[in-house]
Subunit: 226 residues, 2 copies
């Protein structure tokens, strides 16, 4: 997959050495519009921390809010205690778009879009900033939902940790197109192509204890139209 | 989400302290059948390494082969150079199954299945073991494909690094069911339920340079029926 005509094949400058993509650098982009588009399309991030020399990677709901990523979890979680203490984290977001099927297993790969962000986590301690961040998280996951739910309680805000990570050191990597088979392989009568991987929201299922007469809300209907 | 009748709500014993799930431990499972089912349904893992104190998380195709995870990449990649040198890695696999919509944002969450594996990576150096591992990787991604492609070349095997990670220290975590709203919230006329997230393979697209008369192969057809 080395298409020199691809728009992301001309990398912009990396903001730091630790955020520079070394492998398949022609797939790299440091362009904020490209980075934001990937982040805004994803629901889950994988957050990497180091605890006593041991790396841990944990899945986490997230949202982009302006120039920062927001992550939330229990105040008691290892992830958030660690992020607050050591601060140095890595957040990776990956969207899988399909399988690139080549004439050889060597050239076979995947269509994907990923973003890697490194930096120092900032624990949000201000109560109102935390409330706004939690609303942004809810709005990222289900736009329009936060005005349908009952209002957040102060005790809920206190029980939640929210961490912000600057997008200053972010890099995107995109695998697209078709396989880059050598000419000898292209001449073979072996199929090559792409099998797209598609994702969509299914039919909403009401909770068994839902009170009578409550319809599927606008936010959930809108989610299914995305 | 604290359903005491759920089959994974009775955790088996964790194999080590670093693989013990601390948060929402009632969602944890150390059962190999549960772990294997998640791993075998996923295509991408997020691999965490530490490089000079900095955590890095990178997406990576993987396969489970018996009691090990297999990961492959370029011999030149930071991930594989690091895994071979420091050995200590974390591999996390997450399947997102839907959104759990509660009456409050606080109780809203996701349906997911995840596995976290920690341990020392083992670089596979034996040429024939590497060939078998690369075939297992190909078969995990597209079952049946490895007999349709042209045979792997020795030079391709030499250019690829394959790392194995034992499943001895693995833990699964599953979020399912509906939201666990307190009684006061359940009484509110606010919708709660689940919106499933579904994934399927789309229509195969032939490569633009495919020679005439080559049909979509059996492996790709079978993928779409899964």
């Amino acid at each position: 997959m080395t298409d020199p005509t691809s728009p992301h094949s001309t990398p912009t400058a990396a903001p730091s050495d630790r955020s520079t993509i070394k492998r398949s650098a022609h797939h790299a982009s440091y362009d904020r519009a490209a980075i934001d588009a990937i982040l805004d399309a994803a629901l889950v991030a994988h957050v990497g921390i180091v605890d006593g020399g041991q790396p841990f990677v944990l899945p986490c709901a997230f949202a982009r809010c302006g120039d920062e990523l927001l992550l939330h979890g229990s105040v008691a979680s290892r992830l958030f205690r660690n992020a607050a203490a050591t601060r140095n984290i890595c957040v990776t977001v990956t969207l899988l778009d399909g399988m690139i099927v080549a004439r050889s297993t060597f050239e076979s790969s995947m269509r994907y879009r990923s973003v890697v962000v490194v930096g120092d986590a900032r624990l949000i301690t201000d109560h109102e900033e935390k409330r706004a961040a939690l609303e942004a998280l809810s709005e990222h996951l289900i736009p329009g939902r936060s005005v349908e739910t009952r209002p957040m309680l102060d005790v809920e805000i206190r029980q939640t940790s929210v961490v912000a990570l600057s997008l200053a050191e972010a890099a995107a990597k995109i695998g697209d197109g078709f396989s880059d088979d050598p000419d000898d392989d292209v001449a073979l009568p072996i199929w090559a192509g792409v099998v797209p991987l598609e994702q969509h929201w299914g039919e909403p299922m009401a909770a068994p204890n839902l009170v009578d007469g409550v319809d599927v809300p606008a936010s959930v209907e809108a989610l299914r139209l995305r």
